[in-house]
Symmetry: none
Subunit: 365 residues, 2 copies
């Protein structure tokens, strides 16, 4: 444990996934964390997890993190600025320009406000999904504005560093365009793709493989949350989606008239541009760099998965994550097991010695 | 090793990823495999890997598997039918109707041809990527047509079973519509999304996370292969893409006019339809409506998860899916267990009696 840059107490308003995860990470560094939420049950749950202690009369936070649903952020930030006139307030909402505009309009004390956005999340929300390592290695955008001094930006950057994130400075406008590109547009593209499956015959959907699973994974996201996010960033999202739609129109036209000159080339260019775009994405593609993955074949019989996991326990290896791949009708399934890279080789050898069959992690169509 | 259903020799034409993988899987069951390829080096490589022996004068295959690039399939199938008048010929191309039409046009002996398609692949092609377990648990479509007798379909189904796949019967038309839906349309949707990144500022692309990586993973696929696949299935792909484009237009319109009545609802409906579509994908984790879900708290100690699953096995309940919620900073994790609804209540009671702590399943977000 290294010592914290952040000076507490830190008050976290909204003890959902992000709020509780920040709490867990700060508590790991012994920073005092105070939890507040509209729901007392949520505060109790997050406190049980070890994310901090419930708010009380007389609290004197020096830093406040607002982690409430998007539509409530500006109002809660304004309220916190007024209630704690000595505290610096930040928020972690995923769209930044609108909040700043609302706060300006409300004549809030912007010298004590810094907007920020950790680029981290999970498909599922709530304190139960919180984890101290949620922000590890992830960008945390800090968005300066005219009315705030440099030293206060440093406080938020220190918070980001304390939870393991990588602070990135970016204007609210550029941030909003960036998240439209890498997060909000992909959400719509994925949701609309998954929507095509709703009316499809069972037999056709049954042909699905990993390619479809990957492209539609985020289509499982929470609609209530996403209506708010997309509404808050509507114009940037619409602009990028329109360009996407124009490209799509060209491809559809080429597919409808495959014998016209240029049709195969139009399709090829779309595919090549896709190849090029993928190479621009930072990080090892499709995998969590922190862990190594073993793919173990399991007979589809009661107790076999339990036996596998018991034996992994007997080997003294801690499993970091587990994913099951199970094809209905097949005699076998796969367990994809994530472990620390340094344990992977030894565990693979031990499992094979125990008679398990291991494969390389597959990717595929 | 179980004995093979397939009677050899099996001649495989095209010793790339699919051909060599079929060869490896059949050799595992001691079926005689003969390898042919336009490239002698490829044949030698596949033979070195153990996928079979090089073709020779006087070979008398009873079954021929054509696994050449899509554009060459019909021609090679016709040639093999003519060269080996006693053999049954199948192919493994990913689009089926066009090949049948071409063969009819060429007056090939369709009584000895059965089209098929194993739904398996890897991002990397070639014999070097081949593996005997490539087809394990995957659907293998067998497409009957009017001119072929039942017994010959069984031969191809036996081949699928021998390599560990799950044979699925489907007409060429339904197959082609199905793969357009679950594979070809996702490919274009993903490529066009990744293409938006080509011109984007570095700082914005730097915000990318797992959501973008997943949605664009298949955009890294081989353009040469995909131009052929999409060209062969152009009309089915164009039809589904047009419906997708119409949905997209509605969302863009709603984003451009966010204050009009119905705009938020249009966006919400797209997101909800995406949620619904995702639940239809087989093997998709955590959100399958057919199953009831139990959420069990597990102490974060090696072996505890194994003990839980062993005890579920002891209760005689078959677990349909399992998802782990594991927070490295927290003292506990959760196992989300999907079981048939009729078993859920009994299992919950049994686990509580054994001292496990169960929570209300959370609403998916």
């Amino acid at each position: 444990m290294t010592s914290a840059r952040t000076r507490g107490p830190v008050r976290i308003v909204g003890a959902g996934l992000l709020g509780a995860s920040i709490g867990l990470a700060l508590r790991d560094k012994s920073v005092e964390v105070i939890l507040a939420d509209a729901s007392k049950a949520t505060v109790r749950l997050a406190a049980d997890y070890g994310a901090g202690r419930p708010a009380a009369e007389g609290d004197a936070p020096v830093l406040i993190v607002v982690a409430v649903p998007p539509e409530a952020v500006a109002e809660v930030v304004a309220r916190e600025l007024a209630a704690y006139p000595d505290a610096l307030v930040t928020d972690v909402a995923s769209v930044k320009s609108g909040i700043l505009t609302e706060l300006e309009h409300d004549r809030a004390d912007l010298s004590r406000y810094v907007g920020s956005h950790p680029m981290a999340g999970r498909e599922r929300g709530g304190a139960v999904s919180a984890r101290a390592d949620l922000f590890l290695g992830r960008p945390w955008v800090v968005a300066p504005h005219d009315g705030v001094v440099e030293a206060r930006l440093h406080v938020i950057e220190d918070l980001a560093l304390d939870v393991g994130a990588r602070p990135v400075r970016m204007s609210a406008e550029q941030h909003d365009h960036g998240v439209a590109l890498v997060s909000h547009v992909p959400q719509i593209v994925s949701s609309l793709l998954a929507a095509r499956l709703v009316e499809a015959p069972e037999a056709e959907v049954g042909l699905a493989g990993q390619g479809l699973r990957d492209t539609t994974r985020i289509a499982g996201s929470n609609p209530e949350l996403w209506v708010q996010i997309l509404g808050a960033n509507a114009s940037a999202v619409a602009e990028i989606l329109s360009a996407y739609r124009d490209d799509l129109d060209h491809v559809i036209h080429a597919l409808r008239h495959p014998d016209r000159i240029g049709a195969p080339r139009t399709i090829a260019e779309a595919l090549v541009a896709g190849n090029e775009g993928v190479t621009r994405i930072p990080g090892k593609h499709g995998q969590d760099r922190r862990y190594a993955t073993l793919l173990v074949t399991i007979p589809d019989e009661p107790g076999e998965l339990g036996r596998l996991l018991t034996e992994i326990g007997e080997e003294g290896v801690n499993m970091e994550d587990l994913r099951l791949e199970h094809s209905p009708g097949a005699q076998v399934g796969f367990a994809e097991i994530a472990v620390l890279p340094e344990a992977a080789h030894r565990l693979a050898a031990a499992l094979e010695a125990r008679g398990w069959s291991l494969s390389e992690p597959r990717a595929g169509s």
